[in-house]
Amino acid sequence: MAALELLSAEGFRPDGRRPAELRKLRARMGVFAQPDGSAYIEQGNTKALAVVYGPHEMRGPRSKALPDRALVNCQYSMATFSTGERKRRPHGDRKSSEMSLHLKQTFEAAILTELFPRSQIDIYVQILQADGGNYCACVNAATLAVIDAGIPLRDYVCASSAGLVEDAALADLSYLEEAAGGPQAALALLPTSGQMALLQLDSRLHEDRLGAVLEAAGGACRAVHAVLDRVVREHVRELTALLGD
Amino acid sequence: MPLDHRRLQGPDESQPPALWAGEGSGPRDPCALRPLFARAGLLSQAEGSAYVELSGGTKVLCAAWGPREAAEPGGGTAGGGGGGGGGRLVCEFRRAPFSSRGARPRPGGAAEREAEREAAAALREALEPAVRLARYPRARLAVSALLLQDGGSALAAAVSAASLALADAGVEMYDLAVGCALCRDPGHPSGAWLLQPGEAEERRAAARLTLALLPALNQVSAVLGGGRGGDPESWGEALRLGLDGCHRLYPVLRQSLLRAVKRRDAAHTPPGS
């Protein structure tokens, strides 16, 4: 069987995108009323929800409170119907625990936690439909939710994935491209300062190619940033319009 | 003629003896209650205990423990009934591995555990309104029911037994919760309800209902039923029939509680005084 062609001779990907092109990104803030902040994001067919509770007093054992900064608590879960084959449990398996940890590390780097000593910030993300780039969609959704909750951030955290196929770096991989098993990287970037909050690289990649992949991912992150910024500004404009008659 | 010992010397045609036993002797009276035997205070290790048996094979043994300090003070979960500063009632319902007909289910199997947990939740909801939980702040009361034999109407029998056991343990209660089960016979065109169905009746029933009543207050503490759809009138009729059954069972339970107290008094007072 011929392997699936991930990049045609004309330079198109299976879903018709150019290598550096992102999937359609749509987002909305303030989806729910009860949490302090919430957001929903669609990146192509990947759909994610994020809610933020806090900063609030420590829940559970107080000994876990940090004297100098806030504790960031994340939970990543996937709806049982989100994947092609039904998942048995939404969270608690190894992959989701790892993902929760990654999210925690990402947002500890971005939130100004030292402003809220001895308190806790809960970030819960839920994948409703999975089609590649789950981590990235979660980070982007969580960023919007954190902003919606009014928690001070150093900068937006924008995430995107990138892979390498036949010497060409592809941005924002879909499930099909992820499943092909080539080298791929997930990058969470603070775009204004250009600092990386998290970089994860899977499978073997030659050192010389790393630059190209990172550049593709970074470019995608900056593109995501532009969209997220527009969403936030629009949301704030709507809110102020509601407030001031 | 030599006898062939290997061959069974019987008539050519045979009938199972069950045919001659009077089982299923015509339609039974739908309002008939199965005779109930109840005895309180029979276990010495538990603070309160009760045993309830319905004629026809349902046997439930129940033990109760009075107020203990809750392990996690005030840490009652949303469903734990810990609100209002009152105590917590913890219920457990177990089916003995030999309790039901047919193949012995694997004890601790997922399906078995699930069914037990659901029954325990139903038991708690039936008992909570009867117990004065507000009198036991930050405490927990425990009830454990063991179904020895399932001959139908098991949950209803467990409710009666559990409330007897709680009363026997000296827990303050508003009233005894009396349980009663009903089922609708599928054969009946009008959908008549039968009180306290046996296991066979329960298995082929079109709909089932379990009720619990606090007779002195005339308050229904549990309604749990389901099955093929029926009019509200039909369910209402079932409810009325079941409540009537509960009222009729009440004196039996009271009697057994009184007898247990008398027995205990007699044991405490030295003979001859």
Partner: protein, 291 residues
């Protein structure tokens, strides 16, 4: 389930309002809140629906997978329910915190759907004793603003209505071995008949009266509720008391009557919306969570 803290005065205000048939949000005792229903929101399911009832937000996905029929019913498929109380609804549900409520709701759904004829299970059979469709009905609780059971049952019904199961054919060759062939045409599929799928109506006793579709605040004022499953024809298939209080027998009779009346109206309204959405077909603008 944001924690509700109500003072005695606030509770009294709600109870007195209910007595006068005027609730805090201006509804009468038998009125539902405004509900939003949208089907086909998750594309990699066989059927899905999202229901928003006040602040209660439910997403249901139905996935059809092939399995073996149960031993006691060799010629029927079956339904599996799973309820995920996600931490989105409240931080208390984080980790395993939501499991207790989840299994309670799932058990209630099993009980509601236990009546034969709510869904035609025979149509889910592919070949007896060997293959059948198993419908995994997964409920995701996103936000909880009171009256969970009703919202979930509406969402389950809408998702089952939306469910499309691919048609399969069983081919048998000379040696008797069977092969299952999936239809090539994605539009060639089985639809479920949901006419007899019941909806749950929860009636909460507040003071001397009962209300439908209680908000979280009203639920805090109510000690006991009666949950009734009603089909579109007005038949009751399931009854359950929930809460730690008890109910007067007379009020149960009244609640059953109200439940039947309200349930029938609910079915008519839901069916109308579903049919309307269906008639729009592919021209419908999908709103999802972006609206």
């Amino acid at each position: 389930m944001a924690a509700v803290c109500l003072s005695e005065a606030e509770k009294l205000y709600i109870v007195h309002g209910v007595q006068e048939d005027l609730r805090v949000d201006g509804r009468g005792c038998e009125d539902y809140r405004c509900a939003e229903v949208e089907t086909d929101v998750v594309s990699n399911t066989s059927g899905s629906a999202r229901v928003k009832l006040g602040h209660t937000d439910i997403l249901v996905g139905v996935k059809a997978e092939m399995g073996t029929p149960k031993l006691e019913k060799p010629d029927e498929g079956y339904l599996e329910f799973f309820v995920d109380c996600s931490a989105n609804a409240t931080p208390e549900f984080e980790g395993r915190g939501g499991e207790e409520l989840g299994t309670e709701i799932a058990n209630t759904l099993y009980r509601v759907f236990s009546s034969e004829g709510s869904v035609d299970l025979k149509s889910l059979c592919i070949n007896p004793r060997e293959h059948c469709w198993v419908l995994y009905v997964d409920v995701l609780l996103l936000e909880c603003g009171g009256n969970l059971f009703d919202a979930i049952s509406i969402a389950v019904k809408a998702a089952l209505f939306n469910t499309r199961i691919p048609k399969v054919r069983v081919l048998e060759d000379e040696e008797g071995s069977k092969e299952i062939e999936l239809s090539d045409d994605p539009y060639d599929c089985i639809r479920l008949n949901v006419d007899d799928v019941p909806c749950i109506v929860t009636l909460s006793k507040i003071g001397y009266r009962h209300v439908v579709d209680a908000t979280l605040q009203e639920e805090a004022c109510s000690l006991a509720s009666l949950l009734i499953a009603v089909t579109s024809k007005g038949a009751l298939t399931c009854m359950k008391k929930i809460g730690k209080g008890s109910l007067d027998p007379e009020s149960i009779f009244e609640m059953m009557e109200t439940g039947k009346r309200v349930g029938k109206a609910l079915h008519i309204a839901l069916q109308k919306i579903l049919d309307e959405e269906e008639s729009l077909g592919t021209t419908r603008q999908k709103v999802g969570f972006l609206g």
